[in-house]
């Protein structure tokens, strides 16, 4: 099976400011990879490139073997995305939001209804299906956004700091639910975060992004060894950043 996400030599500049420089990383199928970096590291820029919101002019990005530049439709069809900013339409109900996402992926009505029921059951929100998104709390909105990203059964799920603004118990639940997606559904996950306590040192793979460059990648132990520190909390200190 192809690598879920392959980023090779990607660079990007906003005018004179270099946001990403020669970034290479890979995410294997059914794995949970944390893209760890402080604010301004280039995580969101990398996400914008991987979702084709920006054109990738330096280097290449492929999703399940489909090059994003040459085969954008095939590549995007394999991709589910949860953006950092809330993107639900607050004036629509939960079901209407999910139907809209299904339509954007060309799912016929009957199939989309089946998947809506499945995803809402998975996230325990079936009884909120006819509520307006405006009436949901932050944690529920995030779950709906993840459910929406799963509607077309993607092989790769990108989540850009999805726990921003959530309380600690909700964050933990969300992280556990996404880990379960990897284990039970075989979905590859790239989880961007600046919070080291969101990592599971035992199983997660880490890509450490700092000032637009990949400083280390591998298991948590490998990344700590590469940076020359003994624990995750002092990781950003070593890189010259404030700990989070």
């Amino acid at each position: 099976m192809s690598t879920a996400l392959q980023v090779s030599g990607v660079g990007y500049s906003f005018g004179p400011r270099r946001a990403l420089d020669d970034v290479s990383l890979s995410v294997e199928p059914a794995s949970f990879t944390a893209l760890l970096g402080p604010n301004g590291a280039g995580k969101s820029t990398l996400f914008a490139l991987a979702t084709r919101l920006f054109d990738c002019r330096e280097g290449s990005i492929s999703i399940l073997g489909h090059d994003l530049g040459c085969q954008p439709s095939q590549a995007l069809a394999c991709l589910g995305v949860v953006f950092q900013e809330p993107t639900l339409d607050l004036d629509l109900t939960v079901v209407q939001n999910l139907r809209y996402a299904a339509a954007l992926h060309g799912l016929p009505r009957r199939e989309s209804e089946r998947r809506i029921e499945r995803e809402l059951t998975r996230f325990g929100l079936l009884d909120r299906r006819h509520d307006k998104a405006r009436g949901l709390n932050g944690g529920h909105r995030r779950r709906i956004e993840i459910a929406r990203a799963l509607m077309h059964e993607p092989a790769l799920l990108l989540l850009d700091e999805p726990t921003v603004g959530l309380d600690v118990p909700t964050r933990r639940q969300l992280i556990e639910q996404v880990h379960r997606l990897c284990r039970e559904d075989g979905i590859a996950v790239l989880w961007a975060t600046h919070l080291v306590d969101e990592l599971d040192p035992a199983s997660d793979r880490v890509v450490l992004l700092h000032r637009g460059r990949v400083h280390a990648q591998g298991s948590v132990a490998e990344v700590l060894a590469a940076v020359g520190t003994s624990d995750l909390r002092s990781l950003f200190d070593t890189l010259g950043e404030e700990p989070r």
């Binding site: 919101l53 900013e85 060309g106």
Partner: protein
């Protein structure tokens, strides 16, 4: 098949959003009705309109401005859609649309068609109220005007999309009213016939003759009376194609439209 599902989904969402925003619906009706019931009534005595095609007899002023107000409904709806695109982009929900696997040009065209569907709904609601106040067109005209509404909707909707791709911040949108909407509307034949404008100012008449919105209004005017104005149709379709091409290019990923952020 998946392309059609996508189109249905985008049109359905736009209609739902419109119906959910009651104030937008009321606003879309009240604006032209004030012009029709207040402005046109006040000027009825002052402004005589001579017989000119497509009219076969003298008509009250309120009937003359009816097509112009239909154009106004479509113009304001296009700008409202454009504003909503800028808002969606600022707030992030535009990303959900743009990461669909379907081609970007198709998604933008679907968005345009969705806006046209909403504008046609508004136009017929306005025409129904105008009819209740006795400002009526021939019965068949309500059907024959539909293709003209679609063509005008494409032109104005594409203009709105192009503007939304050029405007980087929501705050800049106020300028659109002053520099796009008002000149397009007032420098057209929406309120006065071209010959009447010419009596006042040749320069203004020339500007009106160059304004594509003039041709949109005339296309609607003739279509409301079951007639076809070829020149207006050509200008409206031509302008629509040019503007839509510009809008599609404006939303190309190479322009990196989505607000850049640190992180």
């Amino acid at each position: 098949m998946s392309w059609l599902v996508c189109l249905q989904g985008i049109v359905w969402r736009e209609l739902l959003r419109f119906l959910n925003q009651r104030s937008r619906f009321i606003g879309a009706l009240v604006r032209p009705l004030i012009w029709l019931l207040v402005f046109a009534t006040g000027f009825r005595a002052a402004l005589g309109v001579a017989i000119a095609p497509p009219y076969e007899t003298y008509i009250p002023y309120s009937l003359y401005i009816l097509p112009g107000l239909v154009g106004m409904v479509q113009l304001f709806n296009a700008m409202q859609s454009s504003l909503s695109m800028v808002y969606d982009r600022e707030m992030g929900s535009m990303r959900v649309l743009l990461i669909s696997p379907l081609p970007r040009w198709y998604l933008i065209t679907c968005k345009l068609l969705a806006g046209i569907a909403v504008s046609i709904l508004q136009v017929y609601a306005f025409l129904a109220v105008a009819w209740a106040f006795d400002d009526t067109a021939p019965p068949l005209g309500y059907l024959t005007v539909l293709p003209a509404l679609i063509a005008n909707g494409v032109m104005l909707g594409a203009l709105g999309l192009l503007l939304s791709s050029l405007i980087r911040q929501l705050e800049n949108f106020a300028g659109v009213m002053n520099f796009v909407v008002f000149p397009l509307f007032f420098m057209s034949t929406a309120l006065y016939p071209l010959w009447k404008i010419q009596e006042g100012s040749d320069v203004l008449a020339d500007i009106c003759a160059l304004n594509p919105f003039t041709y949109g209004v005339e296309l609607i005017r003739f279509a409301l009376y079951g007639q076809f104005d070829g020149i207006s149709a050509l200008v409206v379709v031509g302008a629509g194609v040019v503007l839509l091409t510009g809008a599609i290019l404006g939303y190309s990923p190479s322009r990196g439209l989505i607000r850049r952020k640190a992180g």
